[in-house]
Assembly symmetry: C2
Protein backbone atom coordinates (compact mmCIF):
# COMPACT_ATOMS: atom_id res chain seq x y z
CA UNK A 1 0.00 0.00 0.00
CA UNK A 2 1.57 3.26 -1.11
CA UNK A 3 -0.67 5.73 0.69
CA UNK A 4 0.78 5.60 4.16
CA UNK A 5 2.97 8.61 4.76
CA UNK A 6 6.00 7.83 6.90
CA UNK A 7 7.51 10.68 8.91
CA UNK A 8 10.96 10.30 10.45
CA UNK A 9 10.70 12.09 13.77
CA UNK A 10 13.72 14.10 14.92
CA UNK A 11 14.88 14.44 18.50
CA UNK A 12 13.50 17.64 20.06
CA UNK A 13 15.74 20.59 20.76
CA UNK A 14 13.43 22.15 23.34
CA UNK A 15 14.60 21.91 26.91
CA UNK A 16 11.30 22.65 28.60
CA UNK A 17 8.93 19.99 27.30
CA UNK A 18 6.14 20.85 29.76
CA UNK A 19 6.03 24.42 28.50
CA UNK A 20 6.12 23.27 24.89
CA UNK A 21 3.29 20.78 25.58
CA UNK A 22 1.12 23.59 26.99
CA UNK A 23 1.87 25.62 23.86
CA UNK A 24 0.88 22.74 21.59
CA UNK A 25 -2.38 22.24 23.53
CA UNK A 26 -3.18 25.94 23.06
CA UNK A 27 -2.47 25.66 19.31
CA UNK A 28 -4.80 22.64 19.08
CA UNK A 29 -7.48 24.46 21.10
CA UNK A 30 -7.37 27.30 18.55
CA UNK A 31 -7.99 24.77 15.79
CA UNK A 32 -10.66 22.96 17.87
CA UNK A 33 -8.76 19.70 17.59
CA UNK A 34 -8.81 17.22 20.48
CA UNK A 35 -5.63 15.16 20.88
CA UNK A 36 -5.71 11.75 22.57
CA UNK A 37 -2.44 10.09 23.62
CA UNK A 38 -2.89 6.30 23.70
CA UNK A 39 -0.24 4.29 25.55
CA UNK A 40 0.33 0.67 26.59
CA UNK A 41 2.76 -2.25 26.66
CA UNK A 42 3.66 -3.91 23.37
CA UNK A 43 0.86 -6.23 22.30
CA UNK A 44 -1.90 -5.02 24.61
CA UNK A 45 -4.22 -4.38 21.67
CA UNK A 46 -3.89 -0.64 20.94
CA UNK A 47 -4.33 -1.05 17.19
CA UNK A 48 -7.34 -3.41 17.33
CA UNK A 49 -8.99 -1.16 19.94
CA UNK A 50 -8.42 1.84 17.70
CA UNK A 51 -9.89 0.17 14.63
CA UNK A 52 -13.09 -0.81 16.44
CA UNK A 53 -13.43 2.61 18.07
CA UNK A 54 -12.78 4.57 14.87
CA UNK A 55 -15.36 2.52 12.99
CA UNK A 56 -17.89 3.23 15.72
CA UNK A 57 -17.18 6.99 15.65
CA UNK A 58 -16.16 7.92 12.10
CA UNK A 59 -19.67 8.81 10.89
CA UNK A 60 -20.11 11.22 13.81
CA UNK A 61 -16.75 12.99 14.00
CA UNK A 62 -13.70 13.51 11.80
CA UNK A 63 -10.77 11.45 13.07
CA UNK A 64 -7.08 11.29 12.08
CA UNK A 65 -4.47 8.83 13.34
CA UNK A 66 -0.74 9.06 14.06
CA UNK A 67 0.96 5.71 14.60
CA UNK A 68 4.30 5.94 16.39
CA UNK A 69 6.69 3.03 16.08
CA UNK A 70 10.40 2.53 16.32
CA UNK A 71 10.29 0.79 12.97
CA UNK A 72 7.74 -0.86 10.62
CA UNK A 73 4.43 0.46 9.34
CA UNK A 74 2.22 -2.60 9.87
CA UNK A 75 -0.12 -0.84 12.29
CA UNK A 76 -0.63 2.25 10.15
CA UNK A 77 -1.45 0.13 7.11
CA UNK A 78 -3.86 -2.01 9.15
CA UNK A 79 -5.70 1.04 10.49
CA UNK A 80 -5.93 2.73 7.09
CA UNK A 81 -7.19 -0.47 5.45
CA UNK A 82 -9.69 -1.29 8.20
CA UNK A 83 -11.17 2.17 8.75
CA UNK A 84 -10.36 4.36 5.75
CA UNK A 85 -9.39 7.30 7.96
CA UNK A 86 -6.25 9.35 7.29
CA UNK A 87 -3.33 7.68 9.05
CA UNK A 88 0.33 8.58 9.15
CA UNK A 89 3.25 6.59 10.49
CA UNK A 90 5.79 8.25 12.77
CA UNK A 91 9.17 6.55 12.95
CA UNK A 92 11.03 7.36 16.14
CA UNK A 93 14.32 5.85 14.99
CA UNK A 94 14.89 3.92 18.20
CA UNK A 95 13.50 6.55 20.57
CA UNK A 96 11.29 5.07 23.27
CA UNK A 97 8.72 7.86 23.63
CA UNK A 98 7.26 10.99 22.03
CA UNK A 99 7.39 14.46 23.54
CA UNK A 100 5.41 17.55 22.52
CA UNK A 101 7.71 18.68 19.72
CA UNK A 102 7.89 15.19 18.25
CA UNK A 103 4.08 15.07 18.35
CA UNK A 104 3.99 18.47 16.62
CA UNK A 105 6.28 17.16 13.85
CA UNK A 106 3.65 14.51 13.18
CA UNK A 107 0.68 16.90 13.37
CA UNK A 108 2.29 19.13 10.70
CA UNK A 109 1.78 16.27 8.25
CA UNK A 110 -1.96 16.05 8.86
CA UNK A 111 -4.61 18.34 7.41
CA UNK A 112 -6.29 19.52 10.62
CA UNK A 113 -9.07 21.49 8.90
CA UNK A 114 -12.43 20.05 10.00
CA UNK A 115 -10.65 17.49 12.19
CA UNK A 116 -12.29 16.82 15.58
CA UNK A 117 -10.04 14.18 17.02
CA UNK A 118 -6.42 13.13 16.49
CA UNK A 119 -5.33 9.92 18.16
CA UNK A 120 -1.63 9.39 18.76
CA UNK A 121 -0.71 5.75 19.26
CA UNK A 122 2.47 6.10 21.29
CA UNK A 123 5.42 3.66 21.33
CA UNK A 124 4.57 0.41 23.18
CA UNK A 125 6.22 1.01 26.54
CA UNK A 126 4.88 1.47 30.08
CA UNK A 127 7.85 3.48 31.31
CA UNK A 128 9.22 6.28 29.15
CA UNK A 129 6.07 7.63 27.41
CA UNK A 130 4.63 8.40 30.87
CA UNK A 131 7.46 10.84 31.52
CA UNK A 132 6.74 13.16 28.59
CA UNK A 133 3.68 15.37 28.10
CA UNK A 134 2.83 15.06 24.39
CA UNK A 135 0.55 18.09 24.43
CA UNK A 136 -2.51 15.84 24.39
CA UNK A 137 -5.81 16.71 26.07
CA UNK A 138 -6.26 13.19 27.39
CA UNK A 139 -3.88 10.41 28.39
CA UNK A 140 -5.37 6.98 27.96
CA UNK A 141 -3.69 3.63 28.53
CA UNK A 142 -4.59 0.04 27.81
CA UNK A 143 -3.77 -2.73 30.24
CA UNK A 144 -4.55 -6.17 28.85
CA UNK A 145 -5.65 -9.12 30.96
CA UNK A 146 -2.67 -11.39 30.09
CA UNK A 147 -0.29 -8.74 31.50
CA UNK A 148 -1.68 -9.27 35.01
CA UNK A 149 -3.59 -7.17 37.52
CA UNK A 150 -0.45 -6.13 39.42
CA UNK A 151 0.88 -3.73 36.76
CA UNK A 152 -0.31 -0.51 38.52
CA UNK A 153 1.99 -1.52 41.40
CA UNK A 154 4.99 -1.87 39.10
CA UNK A 155 4.52 1.01 36.65
CA UNK A 156 3.17 3.72 38.97
CA UNK A 157 3.74 6.83 36.85
CA UNK A 158 1.88 5.48 33.80
CA UNK A 159 -1.26 4.82 35.86
CA UNK A 160 -0.89 8.10 37.73
CA UNK A 161 -0.93 10.27 34.57
CA UNK A 162 -3.76 8.44 32.76
CA UNK A 163 -7.27 9.87 32.97
CA UNK A 164 -8.66 6.75 31.35
CA UNK A 165 -7.61 3.11 31.69
CA UNK A 166 -9.03 0.51 29.31
CA UNK A 167 -8.76 -3.06 30.58
CA UNK A 168 -8.58 -5.04 27.34
CA UNK A 169 -8.92 -8.73 26.40
CA UNK A 170 -11.60 -9.36 29.04
CA UNK A 171 -12.86 -12.16 26.76
CA UNK A 172 -9.89 -14.30 27.89
CA UNK A 173 -10.22 -13.46 31.59
CA UNK A 174 -11.17 -17.06 32.44
CA UNK A 175 -7.85 -18.49 31.19
CA UNK A 176 -5.70 -16.04 33.15
CA UNK A 177 -5.41 -15.42 36.90
CA UNK A 178 -6.61 -11.84 36.54
CA UNK A 179 -8.49 -10.25 39.45
CA UNK A 180 -10.32 -7.25 37.98
CA UNK A 181 -11.43 -5.90 41.37
CA UNK A 182 -7.84 -5.93 42.64
CA UNK A 183 -6.72 -4.32 39.41
CA UNK A 184 -9.25 -1.49 39.85
CA UNK A 185 -8.14 -1.05 43.47
CA UNK A 186 -4.48 -0.74 42.38
CA UNK A 187 -5.38 1.72 39.60
CA UNK A 188 -7.37 3.95 42.00
CA UNK A 189 -4.41 3.84 44.38
CA UNK A 190 -2.31 5.51 41.68
CA UNK A 191 -5.08 7.78 40.41
CA UNK A 192 -8.30 8.06 42.44
CA UNK A 193 -9.94 10.03 39.59
CA UNK A 194 -9.22 7.49 36.84
CA UNK A 195 -12.06 6.26 34.65
CA UNK A 196 -11.83 2.52 34.05
CA UNK A 197 -13.56 0.81 31.13
CA UNK A 198 -13.25 -2.98 30.66
CA UNK A 199 -13.28 -3.88 26.95
CA UNK A 200 -12.62 -6.64 24.49
CA UNK A 201 -11.33 -5.19 21.25
CA UNK A 202 -11.73 -8.65 19.74
CA UNK A 203 -15.43 -9.18 20.53
CA UNK A 204 -16.29 -5.47 20.62
CA UNK A 205 -17.52 -5.55 24.22
CA UNK A 206 -17.19 -2.14 25.92
CA UNK A 207 -16.08 -0.33 22.75
CA UNK A 208 -19.39 1.60 22.72
CA UNK A 209 -18.60 2.93 26.21
CA UNK A 210 -15.12 4.05 25.14
CA UNK A 211 -16.54 5.66 21.99
CA UNK A 212 -19.19 7.51 24.00
CA UNK A 213 -16.57 8.71 26.50
CA UNK A 214 -14.50 10.11 23.63
CA UNK A 215 -17.51 11.71 21.97
CA UNK A 216 -18.34 13.55 25.20
CA UNK A 217 -14.76 14.81 25.47
CA UNK A 218 -14.51 15.96 21.86
CA UNK A 219 -17.87 17.71 21.49
CA UNK B 1 8.57 -10.68 54.63
CA UNK B 2 11.58 -8.89 56.01
CA UNK B 3 14.34 -10.77 54.22
CA UNK B 4 14.22 -9.10 50.82
CA UNK B 5 17.02 -6.58 50.52
CA UNK B 6 16.04 -3.53 48.50
CA UNK B 7 18.84 -1.63 46.74
CA UNK B 8 18.21 1.85 45.38
CA UNK B 9 20.21 1.97 42.17
CA UNK B 10 21.95 5.22 41.30
CA UNK B 11 22.35 6.62 37.81
CA UNK B 12 25.75 5.66 36.37
CA UNK B 13 28.50 8.18 35.99
CA UNK B 14 30.42 6.19 33.38
CA UNK B 15 30.27 7.56 29.88
CA UNK B 16 31.42 4.46 28.07
CA UNK B 17 28.96 1.75 29.08
CA UNK B 18 30.22 -0.77 26.51
CA UNK B 19 33.72 -0.61 27.98
CA UNK B 20 32.36 -0.85 31.51
CA UNK B 21 30.23 -3.86 30.52
CA UNK B 22 33.31 -5.66 29.17
CA UNK B 23 35.08 -4.90 32.45
CA UNK B 24 32.18 -6.31 34.48
CA UNK B 25 32.12 -9.47 32.34
CA UNK B 26 35.85 -9.94 32.99
CA UNK B 27 35.30 -9.49 36.74
CA UNK B 28 32.53 -12.10 36.65
CA UNK B 29 34.71 -14.48 34.62
CA UNK B 30 37.38 -14.24 37.32
CA UNK B 31 34.78 -15.27 39.88
CA UNK B 32 33.36 -17.97 37.55
CA UNK B 33 29.92 -16.43 37.77
CA UNK B 34 27.62 -16.54 34.72
CA UNK B 35 25.27 -13.56 34.38
CA UNK B 36 21.99 -13.85 32.48
CA UNK B 37 20.06 -10.71 31.51
CA UNK B 38 16.35 -11.51 31.19
CA UNK B 39 14.19 -8.97 29.38
CA UNK B 40 10.59 -8.69 28.16
CA UNK B 41 7.45 -6.55 28.04
CA UNK B 42 5.53 -6.03 31.26
CA UNK B 43 3.43 -9.09 32.01
CA UNK B 44 5.05 -11.58 29.65
CA UNK B 45 5.75 -13.98 32.49
CA UNK B 46 9.39 -13.34 33.45
CA UNK B 47 8.83 -14.04 37.15
CA UNK B 48 6.80 -17.23 36.72
CA UNK B 49 9.33 -18.51 34.16
CA UNK B 50 12.15 -17.79 36.60
CA UNK B 51 10.46 -19.59 39.48
CA UNK B 52 9.89 -22.76 37.45
CA UNK B 53 13.42 -22.67 36.01
CA UNK B 54 15.12 -22.02 39.35
CA UNK B 55 13.24 -24.90 40.95
CA UNK B 56 14.36 -27.17 38.13
CA UNK B 57 18.03 -26.10 38.48
CA UNK B 58 18.65 -25.23 42.11
CA UNK B 59 19.81 -28.70 43.18
CA UNK B 60 22.41 -28.72 40.38
CA UNK B 61 23.83 -25.21 40.50
CA UNK B 62 23.93 -22.26 42.88
CA UNK B 63 21.66 -19.47 41.66
CA UNK B 64 21.09 -15.89 42.84
CA UNK B 65 18.46 -13.45 41.58
CA UNK B 66 18.35 -9.68 41.08
CA UNK B 67 14.87 -8.28 40.42
CA UNK B 68 14.88 -4.84 38.83
CA UNK B 69 11.73 -2.77 39.10
CA UNK B 70 10.86 0.88 39.02
CA UNK B 71 8.96 0.41 42.23
CA UNK B 72 7.45 -2.43 44.34
CA UNK B 73 9.03 -5.66 45.52
CA UNK B 74 6.23 -8.12 44.72
CA UNK B 75 8.36 -10.12 42.27
CA UNK B 76 11.37 -10.46 44.57
CA UNK B 77 9.16 -11.66 47.42
CA UNK B 78 7.38 -14.13 45.12
CA UNK B 79 10.68 -15.59 43.88
CA UNK B 80 12.20 -15.84 47.34
CA UNK B 81 9.05 -17.50 48.72
CA UNK B 82 8.63 -19.91 45.81
CA UNK B 83 12.25 -21.02 45.38
CA UNK B 84 14.18 -20.18 48.54
CA UNK B 85 17.15 -18.82 46.57
CA UNK B 86 18.81 -15.54 47.54
CA UNK B 87 16.97 -12.70 45.83
CA UNK B 88 17.50 -8.97 46.01
CA UNK B 89 15.30 -6.18 44.70
CA UNK B 90 16.84 -3.35 42.66
CA UNK B 91 14.81 -0.16 42.57
CA UNK B 92 15.60 1.96 39.54
CA UNK B 93 13.70 5.02 40.78
CA UNK B 94 11.91 5.59 37.49
CA UNK B 95 14.78 4.58 35.21
CA UNK B 96 13.69 2.41 32.31
CA UNK B 97 16.75 0.15 32.00
CA UNK B 98 19.90 -1.10 33.69
CA UNK B 99 23.41 -0.53 32.40
CA UNK B 100 26.64 -2.25 33.49
CA UNK B 101 27.38 -0.03 36.46
CA UNK B 102 23.81 -0.27 37.73
CA UNK B 103 24.09 -4.05 37.44
CA UNK B 104 27.38 -3.93 39.36
CA UNK B 105 25.68 -1.95 42.15
CA UNK B 106 23.28 -4.86 42.52
CA UNK B 107 25.97 -7.56 42.33
CA UNK B 108 27.87 -5.91 45.20
CA UNK B 109 24.96 -6.83 47.45
CA UNK B 110 25.13 -10.53 46.62
CA UNK B 111 27.60 -13.02 48.05
CA UNK B 112 29.09 -14.39 44.81
CA UNK B 113 31.25 -17.05 46.50
CA UNK B 114 30.23 -20.47 45.14
CA UNK B 115 27.61 -18.82 42.90
CA UNK B 116 27.30 -20.32 39.42
CA UNK B 117 24.52 -18.25 37.93
CA UNK B 118 23.09 -14.81 38.60
CA UNK B 119 19.89 -13.91 36.79
CA UNK B 120 19.03 -10.25 36.37
CA UNK B 121 15.34 -9.67 35.71
CA UNK B 122 15.49 -6.36 33.86
CA UNK B 123 12.75 -3.67 33.83
CA UNK B 124 9.71 -4.71 31.76
CA UNK B 125 10.33 -2.80 28.53
CA UNK B 126 11.11 -3.89 24.95
CA UNK B 127 12.89 -0.67 24.01
CA UNK B 128 15.42 0.83 26.42
CA UNK B 129 16.98 -2.27 28.06
CA UNK B 130 18.06 -3.41 24.57
CA UNK B 131 20.25 -0.34 24.23
CA UNK B 132 22.47 -1.01 27.26
CA UNK B 133 24.94 -3.85 27.70
CA UNK B 134 24.52 -4.94 31.34
CA UNK B 135 27.78 -6.91 31.35
CA UNK B 136 25.83 -10.16 31.09
CA UNK B 137 27.11 -13.26 29.29
CA UNK B 138 23.73 -13.98 27.74
CA UNK B 139 20.79 -11.82 26.71
CA UNK B 140 17.49 -13.66 26.85
CA UNK B 141 14.02 -12.28 26.18
CA UNK B 142 10.52 -13.57 26.62
CA UNK B 143 7.82 -12.88 24.09
CA UNK B 144 4.40 -14.06 25.22
CA UNK B 145 1.70 -15.33 22.87
CA UNK B 146 -0.92 -12.65 23.76
CA UNK B 147 1.55 -9.93 22.64
CA UNK B 148 1.34 -11.13 19.05
CA UNK B 149 3.78 -12.68 16.56
CA UNK B 150 4.60 -9.35 14.90
CA UNK B 151 6.70 -7.97 17.77
CA UNK B 152 10.12 -8.72 16.16
CA UNK B 153 9.05 -6.37 13.35
CA UNK B 154 8.27 -3.57 15.78
CA UNK B 155 11.05 -3.90 18.37
CA UNK B 156 13.99 -4.84 16.14
CA UNK B 157 16.92 -4.10 18.48
CA UNK B 158 15.59 -6.26 21.33
CA UNK B 159 15.36 -9.31 19.08
CA UNK B 160 18.69 -8.51 17.43
CA UNK B 161 20.67 -8.54 20.69
CA UNK B 162 19.06 -11.63 22.23
CA UNK B 163 20.83 -14.97 21.91
CA UNK B 164 17.79 -16.75 23.28
CA UNK B 165 14.08 -16.03 22.78
CA UNK B 166 11.51 -17.83 24.91
CA UNK B 167 8.00 -17.83 23.44
CA UNK B 168 5.84 -18.04 26.58
CA UNK B 169 2.16 -18.79 27.25
CA UNK B 170 1.95 -21.36 24.44
CA UNK B 171 -0.84 -23.03 26.47
CA UNK B 172 -3.20 -20.23 25.39
CA UNK B 173 -2.13 -20.24 21.72
CA UNK B 174 -5.56 -21.47 20.61
CA UNK B 175 -7.38 -18.40 21.95
CA UNK B 176 -5.05 -15.90 20.26
CA UNK B 177 -4.26 -15.32 16.57
CA UNK B 178 -0.61 -16.19 17.10
CA UNK B 179 1.30 -17.72 14.19
CA UNK B 180 4.40 -19.35 15.74
CA UNK B 181 6.02 -20.11 12.37
CA UNK B 182 5.70 -16.49 11.30
CA UNK B 183 7.01 -15.42 14.68
CA UNK B 184 10.11 -17.61 14.29
CA UNK B 185 10.64 -16.26 10.76
CA UNK B 186 10.51 -12.65 12.06
CA UNK B 187 12.90 -13.48 14.95
CA UNK B 188 15.45 -15.10 12.56
CA UNK B 189 15.17 -12.02 10.34
CA UNK B 190 16.47 -9.94 13.25
CA UNK B 191 18.95 -12.54 14.49
CA UNK B 192 19.66 -15.59 12.32
CA UNK B 193 21.62 -17.20 15.18
CA UNK B 194 18.87 -16.90 17.81
CA UNK B 195 17.83 -19.97 19.77
CA UNK B 196 14.04 -20.12 20.15
CA UNK B 197 12.36 -22.20 22.87
CA UNK B 198 8.54 -22.28 23.14
CA UNK B 199 7.45 -22.62 26.77
CA UNK B 200 4.49 -22.39 29.09
CA UNK B 201 5.64 -21.16 32.48
CA UNK B 202 2.16 -21.99 33.76
CA UNK B 203 2.05 -25.65 32.75
CA UNK B 204 5.83 -26.13 32.82
CA UNK B 205 6.08 -27.16 29.16
CA UNK B 206 9.51 -26.39 27.69
CA UNK B 207 11.02 -25.32 31.02
CA UNK B 208 13.28 -28.41 30.99
CA UNK B 209 14.71 -27.28 27.63
CA UNK B 210 15.41 -23.78 28.94
CA UNK B 211 16.98 -25.23 32.11
CA UNK B 212 19.17 -27.56 30.07
CA UNK B 213 20.25 -24.70 27.80
CA UNK B 214 21.29 -22.68 30.86
CA UNK B 215 23.08 -25.62 32.46
CA UNK B 216 25.18 -26.06 29.29
CA UNK B 217 26.10 -22.39 29.29
CA UNK B 218 27.00 -22.23 32.97
CA UNK B 219 29.07 -25.40 33.23
Amino acid sequence: MGNIKIIDIKRSIFEDNDKDADKLRAELNDKQVFLLNLMSSPGSGKTTTLIKTINSLKEKINIKIMEADIDSDVDAIKIKESTGVDTIQLHTGGMCHLDADMTRQGLRNLDLEKTDLVILENVGNLVCPAEFDTGSHLNCMILSVPEGHDKPLKYPLMFQICDLVLINKIDVMSVFDFDIEKCKEYIYKRNPKATIIPISAKTGEGIDKFAEYLLNKVK
